[in-house]
Symmetry: D2
Subunit: 146 residues, 4 copies
């Protein structure tokens, strides 16, 4: 593959994200991807709320999971996809408006496993940012099936 | 409140689940709730899939999260709601059809914290069950705001 | 290698445990090992206590870590050792006497990763057992270097 | 209590660490404590090694656990102690010499729970630092019993 056709981190994340039915459904979009990091956004809506009106922990978890996973994808071998082995998330604050931004980062890229972390920030309508969740994750590169 | 009007575990989970925009969106339904446990179901659909066609880890995580959380709700003080402090999930197998069943169980119910676990099984169209994720979780009872 | 010389799960765990300086130091001993599970014991002493007199979380964590890791060793290829990729532990109760028994179990044995869980029980001087910690863990088989 | 007798973060950590039988046994020492953070050191020795000669995951886990716990102690109410609710640790590299430095930091200090993280670095005999483990943790303030 020559340089002209090597996909950029952004290309790789966009191609994969477009195929994620669930993320399309919830409204997740790519903000930025570089080698070793990925930032995703998710606006507040009823589709991602829980019983008390806040962002659902499941939505926060899913957003952190894919931010970390796509950070890993940017350093995985070209042509590979990634799968989540496990993750752990702590929730720091509950929010009911604005949007979430999740920033995934690669901590260590091994041949068989990629270790990542993610921070999820709430961005209020007035732009104020609050850390609302932190995640640690183990990712495995796998064969791409599409 | 007299005995006639004390809500059952099923009443409590149903009332809370009906208010979860995200879980309604994804198609999560209650299978059974008893004191200290809760089983939820989620059929496969494009709304819960990832880029390779399998159930999305975010959907599996969200399902496990609320199964554990609702197991905790069944032992929380009447009138309280619950919030997730943190959880950790390991993914064991990827599936692209049938449904997921998540069974949450209370391991320890303290006054300030409730520790739970959840197992997520895949149920194939022919009824075959496979363990596909395991979760450990910390839940805090909180004031109900509705 | 003929059947006579294939090491049993007990052989494998004992040979590895004898080499662990830290576990010898703390007083950890093997109770039982079968294919896919391992039970270890640790008597209470000042060597494993924390500032309030209870078993140290670090000792409980280390005991759970190696119970899960040795459960994985019993199903790893003959000649391999194992290394911990990550674990997560919840502490359920604090105890200041008797002994701890940790039971590790393999949940899924893959080629590249082995997923395990462990339960740590306190065994009081009168024999009463209390669940005091639960762990989930990811283990990788690695080349043996001894 | 007047300002002269209010214990500093260093005072609080030193008083608690001196009471930890296990940490004394392994050789853990305080490097620095400020409000919201704590750094601890642990030199390599046979007392903290595993079967392949590296630092034992149990020692790394215990060091990260108390670095995070003591970071929490520095922001807990004066007169309180802390207990670990849960932690999760990823191991990034194995080392067999030098020392470990663990830096715990408070991410959120709530009234009932304190959320922390810790990074564990290996410091080689030539001074080279390598990140070798990352941890996320939930801590609860408790009554001091000494």
């Amino acid at each position: 593959m020559n340089a002209d056709t090597t996909p950029t981190p952004t290309d790789r994340v966009e191609a994969s994200l477009a195929r994620q039915g669930m993320m399309q459904q919830l409204g997740v979009h790519l903000i930025a991807a570089t080698s070793g990091s990925c930032e995703l956004g998710l606006p507040y809506s009823e589709k991602v709320s829980q019983q008390q009106g806040s962002f659902h922990g499941g939505a926060i978890g899913a957003l952190a999971d894919i931010a970390g996973g796509y950070a890993a994808l940017t350093v995985a071998p070209i042509g590979a996809e990634v799968t989540t082995v496990e993750y752990k998330i702590n929730f720091l604050s509950a929010k009911s408006d604005g949007a979430l931004h999740a920033i995934g980062r690669v901590l260590k890229a091994g041949r068989r496993l990629i270790i990542t972390s993610a921070e999820v920030f709430h961005v209020a309508p007035d732009g104020h940012r609050t850390l609302c969740a932190v995640m640690q994750q183990t990712i495995a590169p796998v064969d791409k099936q599409y």
